[in-house]
């Protein structure tokens, strides 16, 4: 995954609440066996309507999406993150996310930024006016050309992974010895766990 420290540019003033992953990428697009090319199906039902926000020429290539509460709820499909990425989105700003979605976003180099609703409202105005938004992961700030400066919280491990583009599997494999020791202890205490699985 690509390292990410700053995302700056146009933000799509979407703002909708409870956007579920069926809206982000409908089920029929899940039939792929690769991670690429899903941008075409992103927000398909919304984009079927003429004049929709995603196909507005001024939003072409916008790297930021502003959304409402509980973004990415519903299905666990990681295709939602892949679809956003394929669309060119590198950061989402919303008051809250489903747990699974924000995890998936980080694993794919998308910043899921949490800001209070008042900050979102302000950023919606900024985006609607066509002005850019600037996100700096290092300082954990979101700024605008109008002196706005919002700080956001992010889990330090997630931040570390995003800033360095780290592959989580490789990181965990550093703990192989601990995992092995745990397995030995667990097998001794709970032999029933493994016997049941023998074919």
């Amino acid at each position: 995954m690509d390292a990410i420290s700053r995302v700056a540019g146009r933000a799509i003033p979407f703002g909708a609440k409870n956007v579920d992953t069926d809206i982000i990428i409908p089920a029929k697009w899940l039939k792929t066996i690769t991670r690429e090319g899903l941008g075409e199906g992103a927000f398909e039902t919304i984009r079927a309507e003429p004049g929709n926000i995603f196909d507005a020429p001024e939003n072409a290539g916008a790297p930021i999406l502003i959304a409402g509460d509980n973004f990415g709820c519903g299905s666990s499909r990681e295709h939602a993150a892949w679809a956003l990425l394929d669309l060119g989105i590198r950061a989402v700003i919303a008051p809250s996310y489903s747990d699974i979605f924000s995890g998936n976003a980080v694993k794919n180099g998308i910043l899921p930024i949490v800001l209070a609703q008042e900050a979102i409202d302000r950023l919606m105005d900024v985006a609607q006016a066509g002005e850019p938004v600037d996100i700096d992961l290092d300082t954990q700030t979101v700024t605008t050309p109008f002196q706005d400066r919002f700080t956001f919280e992010i889990d330090p491990f997630r931040k570390h992974c995003l800033l360095n583009g780290l592959d989580e599997v490789a990181l965990t494999l550093d703990s192989q010895e601990n995992i092995g020791n745990f397995e030995t202890r667990r097998a001794a205490a709970h032999g029933w766990l493994t016997t049941g699985t023998q074919v």
């Binding site: 409908p26 995890g103 889990d155 709970h190 029933w192």
Partner: protein
């Protein structure tokens, strides 16, 4: 000194911590991993690209379910029929290739044991109390009905579990949903969980693991508990749990992958310790009176949009929150409903009985019980029953349930996810309504433009007979 009282969630969590990081996240060991064809191809691809193998292949079980057609799988000579949709076929082929390549047990599409992952896991005794269970599917919460900590994960996490048998997780908060009183006649586990979601809200459980507590759950069969826990995710919770008890032990004993002999005895001894201690603290408690619940249906496009069948379509203005008002107005437009319409006057054209929420033998019995000696109304165009697994299907056929369904005008299908999400050819046409026993009424979930009303199996059967949403308690 006695140790501090702990919740059931805390006990399972504590028993799976491999290591704790400075930032409070923990590496959690995963005991059981279910894999299906939709969310796994990219994970296996990732392993191959990095030259990695599967750490404990015997702890993963693969079974295709999401986009298998539910029409006959074999021809008259027992030869497999091709899948018409090339993309579905490609996903199935990928799993068939990946499972043996990585040494993972695979249940073939035409095997009697094949079914929806969340039906197969408990049925095979693969899912066990006190274990951590994951699957690239949000309804993994289902297995919490056995007293397991079970939750859905994304594809990167699927890859992570395959490679390391662990996940890096932040501990959730613990929520208690305490249900007092008993359910009335005709009110089922599905009605209860729909009602609970209506109370908590679709995001109310975000950041929590829910433990369902109270006599109601103790009185429930395993099938019913699985139905309740299944929809925890619809309240935003990552997982739902019910403490395992004799009902669970009886259900699991003798299942193919469940422990046997002395292992079984040791397991049960441990499982009996898995309950919330007296005095343990929950981060949040919700109390619900079961006796006040009626058969429950959804009117909108979020699972929190519930109303008793005796109620009416709400008006957007009836909600306090302005954003909910806007969402309700949009939902009603999509659903083609007018505020004030009694729910029992909402006509239905399609019936879907199936999904990991309600496709087990008890669900089919409940629906068949209503349909016995009755037929579907003339305006029902399409009514299908999709058993949760081949074994459920066989059991139902042994009991003659298939005949009751077909006599009532239903199609009797092969197991799979089917119209729950419409990845296979089973879809609800745009603009038409479906009384569905599945778990999601999202826009387009059952097909583009499809209008879903979530109901229990008995209520789906009642809707089939009446040709509209109907109160199963009032069917003549």
């Amino acid at each position: 000194m006695a140790s501090k009282p702990r919740t059931l969630y805390a006990k399972i969590w504590d028993d799976h911590v491999v290591e704790t990081r400075d930032d409070g996240t923990a590496l959690i060991y995963i005991d059981r991993h279910l894999v299906h064809e939709v969310t796994s191809p990219q994970a296996f691809e990732g392993l191959r690209a990095a030259g990695r193998g599967v750490r404990r292949p015997e702890l993963t079980l693969a079974v295709p379910d999401h986009n298998l057609p539910t029409t006959a799988r074999l021809d008259a000579n027992g030869v497999r029929l091709p899948i018409a949709d090339p993309q579905s076929a490609a996903q199935l082929e990928a799993l068939e290739r990946n499972a043996p390549e990585f040494g993972i047990r695979y249940i073939d599409a035409s095997a009697a044991e094949q079914g929806i992952v969340h039906v197969v896991g408990p049925e095979q005794g693969f899912s066990l109390p006190g274990t951590t269970i994951v699957c690239g599917d949000s309804h993994t919460a289902c297995h919490g009905g056995l007293g397991a900590l079970a939750f859905g994960i994304g594809t990167s996490e699927v890859e992570h579990v395959l490679a390391t048998q662990t996940l890096l997780l932040q501990r959730s908060k613990a929520m208690e949903v305490r249900v007092t009183g008993a359910l009335g006649p005709g009110v089922t586990a599905k009605d209860l969980i729909l009602h609970i979601i209506g109370e908590i809200g679709a995001a109310g459980g975000t950041g929590y693991v829910i433990e369902y507590r109270g006599d109601v759950f103790e009185a429930m069969s395993v099938e019913q508990r699985l139905t309740v826990c299944n929809m925890s995710i619809e309240a935003g919770a990552r997982a739902g749990l019910i403490a395992p008890d004799e009902t669970v032990f009886r259900y699991l004993k003798g299942r193919p992958m469940a422990p046997k002999g002395a292992d079984w005895l040791a397991a049960v001894t441990y499982w009996k310790t898995l309950h919330t201690d007296d005095g343990a603290q929950f981060d949040k408690s919700v109390v619900i009176d079961a006796s006040a619940i009626a058969p429950t249906v959804t009117w909108g496009t979020s699972p929190e949009d519930v109303v008793p069948i005796s109620g009416a379509v709400p008006s957007p203005e009836s909600f306090a929150d302005p954003s909910k008002q806007a969402a309700a107005a949009k939902s009603l437009e999509y659903m083609g409903l007018t505020p004030g319409t009694p729910m029992t006057q909402v006509p239905i054209e399609n019936i879907f009985i199936g999904s990991c929420t309600n496709s087990r033998i008890e669900d089919l019995r409940a629906a068949a019980n209503v349909l016995k000696g009755r037929t579907k109304a003339a305006n029902i165009r399409w009514a299908i029953v999709v058993p949760g697994s081949g074994l459920v299907k066989m059991q139902a056929e042994e009991e003659g349930l298939d005949r009751i369904f077909t006599d009532a005008g239903f199609e009797w299908r092969e197991p799979g996810c089917s119209a729950c999400l419409g990845m296979n050819p089973d879809k609800v046409p745009a603009g038409e309504r479906c009384a569905s026993t599945s778990n999601r009424n999202f826009v387009g979930r059952q097909g583009p433009g499809a209008r879903t009303h979530l109901v229990s199996p008995a209520m789906a059967a009642a809707a089939a007979v009446a040709g509209r949403l109907a109160d199963v308690r009032e069917l003549d």
